[in-house]
């Protein structure tokens, strides 16, 4: 019996093969194609027309509007209008204004372990948290998938990233990923499959695991997989997905690995990444004293329900520092509703935060809300490339949602652990 990686097992099944070897080029049938309003209808429709074909299977296509939501410029509004009309014409499943695609897709039960999925967005590796082989592609390639139902890929090697022990209080999945960006660099994933494993990962919730897989994109990996376990299955069943036969979806002992890295989760400190790269991450204690103008809690990376809950833990009973603007764009409508039910949105309101639409918002930088010239921001998002969130002279630091919340209160980049201690002593 061959020892296979999780990636090999999923790809072999999708390619209609009993097994595949890393390095070989195969053609695989996609179980699902996810598209959004930017790279989706407006880009694929002219190509499909040119090719003279329709969708390979509308029941396997999910469209989610998020990049140009809330449509606050005339161009954005036009793109959303086109997106809505296209959804109706092609009868695909459409989640309009419900939140960011990577969060909405699993939340609505579209993903299951073992699926082979493409997404028209670079953070598509997020789906890997559910044991799904999911990766991002551009619009022309997506049009090809929509026309044929298949895609070629080079079977990846697996880089096993193992984390042991529980994270300390105030330390999150985001900190794990910033530390990894610094350690292996923005190309360290070498467009292979990263697989996260170990007791730290087992102890994490699904939304925290999604943050790990999400930022596999920042490491330059094609996919960021996590083998399914009881936590995965419980989440998906609640989301309405029909999950069966997931136990064998794991990397076999003795499977070929490109690399195996080991980290101690208990020793990790909160991290912040200096402008303009996630790879500029350091332990927060080593970062220079930096005043901030804007604190942004947003994106598929950093504004899911649990991110909001963590931030609220810091902000409860506190206000945003004078001269600082705290902006919060909850990643999905459902996550925001849950946060509202639990009093989390009220905490944000009391602290003086401005709440933005359930969309990509300033992280993508496509809409009216953007960072102005010379602004210094700390953000819970995945990327701080120069000019991404606004003016080229704006400076974006990255941190966990907890670190962003602590910094909003302090008016400068601040360690969230100090705020946790205060909270406990206040009780």
């Amino acid at each position: 019996m061959m020892a296979d990686s999780l990636a090999q097992k999923i790809i072999a099944r999708a390619a209609g093969r009993s097994s595949v070897m890393p390095g070989e080029v195969v053609t695989a049938a996609v179980d699902l194609a996810m598209i959004h309003d930017s790279g989706g209808p407006r880009r694929v429709e002219p190509i499909l027309r040119d090719l003279g074909v329709g969708l390979f299977d509308p029941s396997k296509v999910v469209l989610i509007s998020d990049h140009f939501v809330p449509g606050d410029t005339p161009e954005s509004a036009d793109i959303l209008e086109f997106t809505r009309n296209w959804a109706g014409q092609h009868r695909v499943t459409f989640h309009d204004g419900q939140g960011i695609c990577h969060v909405v897709l699993p939340e609505r039960g579209h993903l299951r372990p073992g699926m082979f999925v493409v997404g028209g967005d670079s953070h598509s590796p997020t789906g890997g948290a559910f044991g799904t082989y999911m990766f991002g592609i551009g619009a022309t390639e997506m049009a090809g998938v929509l026309a044929t139902g298949e895609i070629w890929l080079k079977v990846p090697q697996t880089i096993l990233i193992e984390w042991r022990n529980r994270l300390s209080e105030g330390v999150t999945a985001k900190d794990m990923m910033l530390a990894l960006c610094a350690r292996i660099g923005m190309g360290g994933g070498r467009y292979q499959a990263i697989e996260f494993a170990g007791s730290t990962i087992s102890s994490l919730s699904m939304q925290e695991r999604m943050t790990l897989s999400n930022m596999a994109a920042e490491l330059g990996a094609q996919a960021g997989l996590i083998a399914p376990d009881e936590t995965t299955v419980a989440y998906l069943r609640k989301a309405g997905a029909d999950v069966d036969a997931w136990q064998d979806l794991k990397t076999d002992i003795g499977a070929p690995l490109l690399d195996h890295l080991l980290f101690d989760g208990a020793a990790l400190e909160p991290q912040v990444a200096a402008p303009h790269s996630p790879a500029n991450a350091t332990a927060i204690g080593d970062a220079p004293q930096t005043s901030i103008d804007v604190a942004y809690i947003g994106a598929c990376t950093g504004a899911k329900y649990e991110d909001l809950k963590g931030a609220a833990g810091i902000l409860r009973g506190r206000g945003v520092a004078a001269g600082v603007e705290l902006l919060i764009a909850p990643a999905s409508k459902r996550d925001q509703e849950r946060a509202a039910d639990e009093g989390i949105m009220k905490v944000f309101e009391d602290a003086g935060a401005r709440i933005l639409a359930n969309a990509c918002g300033i992280c993508a930088g496509y809409g009216a809300d953007r960072l102005g010239a010379g602004v210094t921001c700390i953000s819970s998002t995945a990327r701080n490339f120069k000019g991404r969130m606004g003016a080229p002279s704006s400076r974006v630091w990255l941190g966990s949602p907890l670190t962003v919340a602590a910094s909003a209160v302090a008016g400068r980049i601040a360690d969230p652990r100090n705020f946790l201690t205060l909270e406990i002593s206040a009780i």
Partner: protein, 168 residues
Amino acid sequence: MSGRAFLFGDDVDTDQLAPGAFMSGGIEALAAHCLEGLRPDFAEQVKAGDVLVAGWNFGMGSSREQAAEALKHLGLAGVVALSFAGIFYRNAINLGLPVLVADDLADVADGDAVELDVEAGLLRLTQKDKTLSLEPLPDNLKQLLADGGLVPHLKKRFAAARREGTAS
């Protein structure tokens, strides 16, 4: 076709190639801002046949294919780099923009006269009398590029399937 080399460093990201603020418009408007954060006059200076030469991990970040489309729109003969980010690489080939990997680019200086021979996998430094060998493309990608990208490639494939269907 000959042109000049435009030299860039490592980790050139898609927000530089296709800035978000211009993503709602057409490729013409977007291409005018291509790489302006790193080199403000890039779009103005670049001419048909020029070659972008870069370090590691070129095109990292977003899946937006306008990053590759903008370079093609500006007339670049191709991009030669030490390595490419995966999605950008696929996008470029799919759009018919040659992207080739070199082992060592230390001999190339900004502004050098260059000639990119995609077929032979060579970057000729015509004034320096030097030729760099580039990594050969895998066969499936060579075919895609030869067809002019994914859309013409699929058209060809569909036409062949239709002919076969008619014949049988």
